[in-house]
């Protein structure tokens, strides 16, 4: 699907759905993102052919733009009136600029932006490799820097959801180390997220300290968050080793079941660590909770308040002021990506891929399987720990119920749908899943409800049908169903994920060497295909 028209139509439909649901100035953001996405996806058709990449970017961007314009108009004259709303939006205000809302202005802005960004991305794609990477990085960074302003100017308010989504992106990146690089299926990854969050909760809230009778100033210090983030990450890494150790003799399904067990145990432990008394074994000397048993995790009530980060100039991060949090989570993602990339190409990274391919052969090469596996767990856990620290501080309260099995499953689904072993895939896949779940679905639900109430229900006679329409038609209640459906469809249509890791993809399709990979890779494969026919024969 790399033909520019096809790509334009495909991504155009997705962008149109977003604009149809949100209307207003969402066309601007949709135009920017979809234009860039379209140009990037068409890239494979014309490797390094300058005029063709540029042309493909323009064509696909223009098609996406047309879809957005049409969606904007349909939203204004059809969708909103049907839902009983006036197509009125506040003006687009960015600094001194203030443009009053008009569907043509918004739609055309979306079109022009899609075209312009498509062309720009297409042009960057046509540059020599080194400049191309630099150009794409600058494009991405500019977008990330402008996003909060654009979001506010367009009056969308997506940034709050974006921050929680990015916590999951960090988690997916971490799980990708364990599942994607080391090939160890971990079904209890949320446990490390929980341990990171609870470590932060205990260190950065008065909860535990007040019971200890010690001086309780640590958590009130301005710098404490910046210290705790490293302490917590180290603690979680240790737990990664601890939980990894019993799984060492296991592989495949057995390993998955054991990790599933850990994922279940950890929240239960946090739920029940409410009356703790520590005595030294044999001697009976009491260390903690002697007078009154310690309430370590406060059970279902959870721990709060948890202190927030503080930086000079900005001061303490506040709830509702999203930009500092946004920058912090972006920094954590950037740090994770840098760290994981370094790991991947290190000795350890090579040992992981060898171990994933063949444990016995890897062992004969002098790879210590025990250390290699443990390091995968520890590294994955460290990343989850960072996410946990951010989460605890961002929400300022933590409860054991937040870290149950579904969290592990969602993270794993992000990794698998995005493309196991490919960081870009995991990030993009994760963003798509969670944006659909947390941003699109609620909006769809609201629109549907309004439409039913204003346009359909008044004309329905039967009270039973009326009741059904007002109560049961609610897409947010179908989210688990839709999630499951997505999993089934993606695994059938594209088992290697949206953006697969080349090597992993080959493991999934041993006999099939070509699909929608960039052409350069297909060509390399084509060269080898002739040989792979007589792979099993011995004639030379």
């Amino acid at each position: 699907m790399t033909h520019p028209v096809k790509v334009g139509v495909g991504i155009g439909i997705v962008a149109a759905v977003v604009v149809l649901l949100f209307g207003g100035w969402s066309a601007i953001l949709a135009g920017i993102v979809a234009g860039a996405a379209a140009a990037l996806v068409t890239e494979g058709q014309s490797i390094r052919d300058r005029s063709a990449t540029l042309r493909n970017g323009v064509i696909s961007g223009a098609i996406v733009g047309v879809f957005i314009l049409i969606a904007e108009i349909v939203n204004d004259i059809l969708v909103l009136p049907l839902a009983g709303k006036d197509p009125v939006f506040p003006p687009f205000t960015l600094g001194p600029i203030s443009i009053p809302y008009n569907m043509f202005v918004a739609g055309l802005a979306g079109l022009v932006l899609a075209l312009a960004i498509g062309a720009l991305t297409g042009w960057i794609n046509s540059l020599p490799d080194k400049n191309r990477r630099l150009g794409l990085a600058i494009l991405l960074l500019t977008f990330l820097a402008l996003y909060p302003a654009l979001d506010a100017a367009a009056g969308l308010g997506w940034i709050e959801q974006m921050i929680s989504i990015m916590i999951f992106v960090v988690l997916a990146l971490g799980l990708n180390i364990v599942v994607g690089y080391a090939g160890l299926l971990d079904l209890g990854y949320a446990a490390f997220f929980a341990i990171g969050a609870y470590a932060t909760g205990l260190l950065l809230s008065p909860h535990l300290c007040n019971q200890s009778g010690f001086n309780c100033e640590f958590y009130q210090q301005e710098w404490s968050f910046w210290l705790v983030i490293w302490i917590a990450a180290a603690i979680v890494a240790c737990f990664g080793l601890l939980l990894g150790a019993p799984t060492l003799p296991l592989t495949g399904d057995y390993l998955a079941i054991v990790t599933l067990g850990f994922g279940e145990i950890v929240p239960v432990v946090f739920r029940n660590l409410t009356t703790v008394t520590l005595t030294l074994p044999f001697t009976g000397i009491c260390i903690a909770g002697c007078i009154k048993p310690l309430n370590v995790t406060a059970g279902e009530q959870g721990i709060n308040p948890i202190a927030r980060p503080w930086v000079p100039v900005v001061g303490s991060f506040q709830t509702g002021e999203y930009i500092p949090w946004y920058v912090l989570i972006l920094a954590i993602i950037a740090l994770s990506i840098f760290f994981i990339n370094r790991l991947r190409y290190s000795r350890l990274g090579r040992a992981w891929s060898a171990m994933r391919e063949d444990e016995l052969a890897a062992s004969s090469m002098g790879i210590n399987l025990v250390n290699t596996k443990l390091m995968a767990f520890a590294m994955g856990a460290t990343i989850a720990g960072l996410a946990g620290v951010f989460y605890a501080s961002y929400i300022t309260a933590i409860f054991p119920s937040v870290f149950d099995f579904t969290v592990s499953v969602i993270i794993l689904a992000m990794v698998i749908l995005g493309g196991v072993g490919n960081m870009t895939g995991v990030i993009v896949g994760g963003l798509i899943i969670l944006l659909s779940d947390r941003v699109l679905l609620p909006q769809l639900a609201t629109l549907l409800k309004d439409t039913l109430n204003t346009t359909v229900v008044p004309h329905v006679e039967s009270p039973a049908v009326k009741d059904f329409l007002t109560v049961s038609v609610d897409p947010t209640q179908w989210r688990i169903f839709l999630f499951g459906l997505t999993l089934v469809v993606v695994m059938l249509v594209r088992p290697q994920g949206l953006i697969p890791n080349v090597r992993r993809a080959a493991e999934m399709h041993p006999d099939e060497d070509t699909w929608d990979l960039p052409l350069s890779i297909q060509q390399a494969d084509a060269a080898t295909q002739v040989r792979s026919v007589d792979r099993e024969t011995t004639i030379d």
């Binding site: 063949d358 052969a361 062992s363 004969s364 090469m365 060269a527 295909q529 030379d540």
Partner: protein, 238 residues
Amino acid sequence: MPPLLELTDIKTYYGNIQALKGISLSVAPGEVVCLIGSNGAGKTTTLRTIQGLIRPREGTMTYDGKDLVTMEADEIVKAGVSQSPEGRLVFPRMTVRENLEMGAYSRSDKVGIQADMEKILDLFPRLRERLTQKAGTLSGGEQQMLAMGRAMMSRPRLLLLDEPSMGLAPMLVEQIFRTILDINQQGTTVLLVEQNARMALAISDRGYVLQTGRIVLEDTGSNLLNSELVRKAYLGEH
């Protein structure tokens, strides 16, 4: 000369099944020694035990004066024992170059690794042509060369070869055995496990015959070739 490798009364089990019922053998520096025997005789198990991939339950093993029984597989590789595993266990999704680099995993001298890579590519010119190709797409013979080359990349003093001729065309078998002799002449001691007894014995200084986990015969390569037992059981002569 003291032996480079010495096994005394090694007993190895898979669960409750005893695969090696007391193996004693020795390999002197610079020798080519082969283990022959039928399927299930314990040839591969012997090599895996030496490499540290399976622990023996009883017996002693020394390599260069060091106790092998207590060493981990990765330490054994570092100490200079390297194996080309049975069934050509190359990493199929890695390129030929990456496979060779994995072979040098236990080393950290970049310059030396590069030089050895060149040497091995000279030894197996076929691999040089296929450097960027995925190992899984190589032919059987090429995979065997890759597995041997990869084992050589750790610059072993003792090279363990598990059935290097398995499933190869006769012409290629000859070429592989010639290469084994080359490797040996460049100073690497070789312990070879083979079903192709004729070829293996022809290039070996000494040989051991394994039957159901026991060594039943031990002699020089040429004597074994002429021995009654070997001729009947393994060479199919009457």
